[in-house]
């Protein structure tokens, strides 16, 4: 059941994706769903992240790479095809990883880091404008709004963001839906599928 668009599969040698955010935001589940989708799609996939200290509210990144054969699990600076950011400032932090012409999908959401909370640093509230200048394609999604209004469950934010990401990847929607069904708690399947669909249409 290879539902991939074959042209893309053979043209694109390796695709690099960054999922970035703040420890505790649920980037991990999103990365797992994405990797599951890519595996179903018949790709070789590698995913790399760091656990431990960073879970306590620190900046977190998960690298996902896929293609015919993947060696390094890490994405090099200037080579990311896609950056999915769960938080505005984190998108800026990881922007040096974006390749020229790459796409940024960003959650229109600010989570203030400790130095800002304590008044020791300023939050770049103009993050979206900077991103607009720097990224060739910028998708801004208010994931909380989509999760609440379209899916009726605030916890579906990460899947709403995946919906936006999916609209920039050539993988059949059915594969996404199947992997989401298998990855989220059974009671939330419908809400997550709604969030996924709405996330893909909101821009």
């Amino acid at each position: 059941m290879l539902l991939l668009k074959l042209g893309v599969r053979f043209l694109a040698k390796v695709t690099n994706v960054l999922l970035v955010g703040v420890g505790g935001q649920g980037t991990l589940l999103a990365a797992r769903i994405l990797s599951g989708v890519l595996q179903q799609g018949g790709y070789d996939v590698k995913m790399s992240e760091v656990h431990g200290m960073s879970q306590r509210g620190g900046s977190v990144v998960t690298f996902v790479r896929y293609g015919d054969r993947i060696y390094s699990p890490l994405v090099e600076k200037g080579t990311a095809d896609l950056i999915l950011s769960f938080e505005k400032m984190e998108a800026l932090r990881w922007l040096p990883y974006l390749k020229p012409g790459g796409t940024v999908v960003v959650n229109d959401f600010a989570l203030l880091p400790a130095p800002v909370l304590m008044g020791k640093a300023e939050y770049p509230y103009n993050a979206l404008e900077i991103l607009k200048e720097q990224a060739e394609t910028l998708i801004v999604l208010d994931a909380a709004k989509v999760a609440m209004e379209e899916a009726g469950n605030i916890r579906t934010q990460n899947v709403a963001l995946l919906g936006a990401l999916a609209s920039h990847m050539d993988i059949d929607t059915e594969i996404w839906q199947q992997v989401i069904r298998e990855s989220v708690p059974p009671k939330t399947v419908e809400a997550n599928l709604k969030a996924f669909a709405a996330g893909g249409q909101q821009h």
């Binding site: 760091v50 656990h51 600076k77 400790a114 909370l117 770049p124 900077i130 720097q134």
Partner: protein
């Protein structure tokens, strides 16, 4: 963890596993029946996943030395054993390990060392490949999740065939990197009877001297074996450049050089296949040794008389990457976006409601030397708490405080010191230090932060938790009972959220002329199933913007550009510590006024 089970009726399935999950899966497939570990990033998930297989006994041991010894006993009884720990844990386990190399094993015995280059979550960056020649035990280095699983099977066979513990050395990117792994059914482990053999297992000097000879003979046989070990392999590409590499470094090398180089990919990296290295070297023009951290391969290869380029161009510290190889060897830099916007750092912080916060808030005010330990309380080192003077290794809080206090007394400077240690860390290696303090008439204050779990590594149970790794109820060892039985007479148990009570207890402990222990008992705010406390809010009428609350460093407090402070009620756990430090009683329960 259920994903690690094979679907019914399937002979083989491809699963997406981290290196740690793959090692656990390998334990299952290749007949492990026993596993022991102490949690430590990046090794923790190995044992966590092993607990999910009913065929395998798995325990969280009190420390790594204990885990290794428990594992050795299990091997003698006939089990195939996996013992797992982070790199610094191997230091703790070194004593039994170095002699287990002499006794050898019965059932296959694997020690997994998970090293942490760049120190993502560690206090030092040691390259544990050096342990293999030091302890004289064979070492395997997987380069991805598939090999991590396969090498468990290979390791058990090597261990049983050569009668030796085997070291499997991984690094963070192997441990936490995920890839596709072909998984199969479990194979039945061999049946191995225990036979009493004092000359093999009792390392008295006379027997140890005989076993010393056995090790040399074994190493010679292992060397021969490594020449034909199928996971040591040559991949021919262009012969202009030859690359000798192992582990994750192989992936970075392939990423950058692809087919434009030939590779000698080493997997059994002690003892090295010397003939194979010489033959490879003879067929390529120029050789790079590509390895992370120490010049481990390079030094041995140079000793064979083979000219190589290694640490002259590749850094000997921090993680390696394809980027570094591209830059250092090829002189290439990929274009990257440059930003001139200052981006504030986002350091990890003690969580909202963390029961460690009030203790460090008080200690900061007291300006007393605080000897810290390994755990979440490392987050009390940076601002705003800045309450910790030292962080060295597991257990070093009590002992360093004792040494500091004794020396101060001896030198006449008479400084008191406080040792601050967690509950899991107390059982790991705090108890022996406390015995030393009591025995040697110390007078330090010891603060045990008992948050009911091993928090930093993700909530593993310990001897004070009343539950085993397999989730069975067990005897709960009470820290106050342990402390009293060691002869500490001044012992207090305090709720960490009670700021006044905590401060009084600490002041008393510091004034007390003798060993004094205060146990701060309050569960980690991230533990599941805790009773919910009502969140707090700031009465803006009463708030004077003095910002004393911000000095607690709680991430639920939000400082706005107009200098006002509010509380993020979603993040707030209702611990009330900020309300207790507020001099103006401006912090109240949400809806508190209405309820009166």
């Amino acid at each position: 963890m259920a994903e690690l089970k094979l679907p019914k009726g399937e002979k083989s399935v491809k699963l997406f596993l981290s290196g740690n999950e793959a090692i656990a899966r390998g334990g299952y497939e290749y007949g492990a029946t026993f596993a022991a570990a102490y949690p430590g990033t990046p090794s923790t998930e190995i044992l966590e996943n092993l607990t999910s297989y009913e065929e395998i006994y798995a325990e969280w041991s009190t420390n790594e030395k204990v885990a290794l010894e428990v594992g050795l006993g299990a091997s003698l009884a006939g089990s195939r054993v996996i013992v797992a720990m982070k790199h610094v844990g191997v230091n703790v386990a070194a004593d039994p390990l170095f002699t287990a190399a002499y006794t050898g094993v019965n059932g296959g015995f694997l020690l997994v060392s998970a090293d942490d280059p760049t120190m993502h979550s560690s206090q030092n960056e040691q390259d544990n490949r050096n342990v293999a020649p030091f302890a004289k035990i064979p070492m395997l280095e997987p380069s991805d999740s598939q090999e991590a699983k396969d090498l468990v099977g290979q390791g058990f066979e090597i261990s049983e065939k050569f009668d030796t513990p085997v070291l499997i050395r991984i690094t963070t990117r192997i441990a936490h990197g995920k890839g596709l792994v072909h998984c199969q059914e479990r194979q039945q482990p061999p049946e191995l009877d225990y036979k009493k053999d004092a000359a093999k297992y009792c390392m008295l000097p006379a027997f140890a001297r005989q076993r010393r000879l056995v090790i040399e003979e074994r190493t010679a046989r292992l060397q021969e074996f490594s020449e034909n070990f199928p996971y040591n392999k040559i991949e021919w590409g262009s012969k202009d450049v030859g690359i000798i590499t192992s582990g994750i470094s192989y992936q970075y090398a392939k990423e950058v050089f692809g087919d434009s180089a030939s590779y000698l990919k080493l997997t059994l990296t002690w003892p090295l296949p010397e003939k194979m290295i010489r033959e490879f070297a003879a067929k390529v023009n120029k050789i790079y040794v590509i390895e992370e951290l120490d010049p481990y391969l390079e030094t041995q290869i140079r000793a064979l008389g083979v000219e190589v380029i290694g640490k002259d161009v590749i850094p000997n510290m921090f993680e390696l990457s394809a980027e570094i190889l591209r830059e250092r060897i090829l002189g290439q830099k990929l274009p990257e976006q440059e930003l001139d916007v200052p981006i504030p750092p986002r350091p990890p912080v003690l969580c909202a409601g963390c029961p460690h916060r009030p203790v460090f808030y008080i200690l900061k005010k007291m300006k007393v030397p605080v000897m810290g330990d390994i755990g979440c309380y490392g987050l009390a080192v940076p601002p705003p708490l800045e309450a910790v003077d030292t962080t060295v290794c597991m257990g070093a809080s009590i002992t360093m405080a004792h040494g500091f206090q004794k020396a101060s007394s001896w030198l006449g400077t008479n400084k008191k010191a406080v040792g601050v240690i967690g509950d899991s860390t107390f059982f790991h290696s705090g108890m022996t230090g406390l015995a030393d303090l009591v025995f040697n008439k110390g007078a330090s204050a010891v603060l045990v932060l008992d948050n009911r779990t091993t928090a930093m590594t993700g909530h593993q149970p310990h001897p004070g938790s009343g539950i085993t790794a397999k989730g069975e109820p067990t005897q709960e060892i009470k820290i106050e009972d342990v402390v009293r039985s060691m002869g500490v007479e001044d012992v207090a148990v305090v709720d960490a959220y009670d700021l006044d009570g905590a401060e009084k207890a600490i002041r008393h402990a510091l004034d007390f002329d003798g060993p004094s222990v205060v146990i701060f008992r309050r569960a980690c705010a991230l533990l599941k199933g805790l009773p919910k406390l009502p969140p707090l809010q700031i009465d803006q009428e009463k708030c004077t913007k003095c910002h004393i609350c911000l000095s607690t460093g709680c991430p639920a407090l939000v400082h706005h550009p107009d200098k006002s402070v509010t509380i993020d009620t979603d993040a707030c756990t209702g611990c009330t510590v900020c309300a207790q430090v507020c001099p103006f009683d401006a912090i109240v329960e949400v809806g508190g006024e209405v309820l009166g």
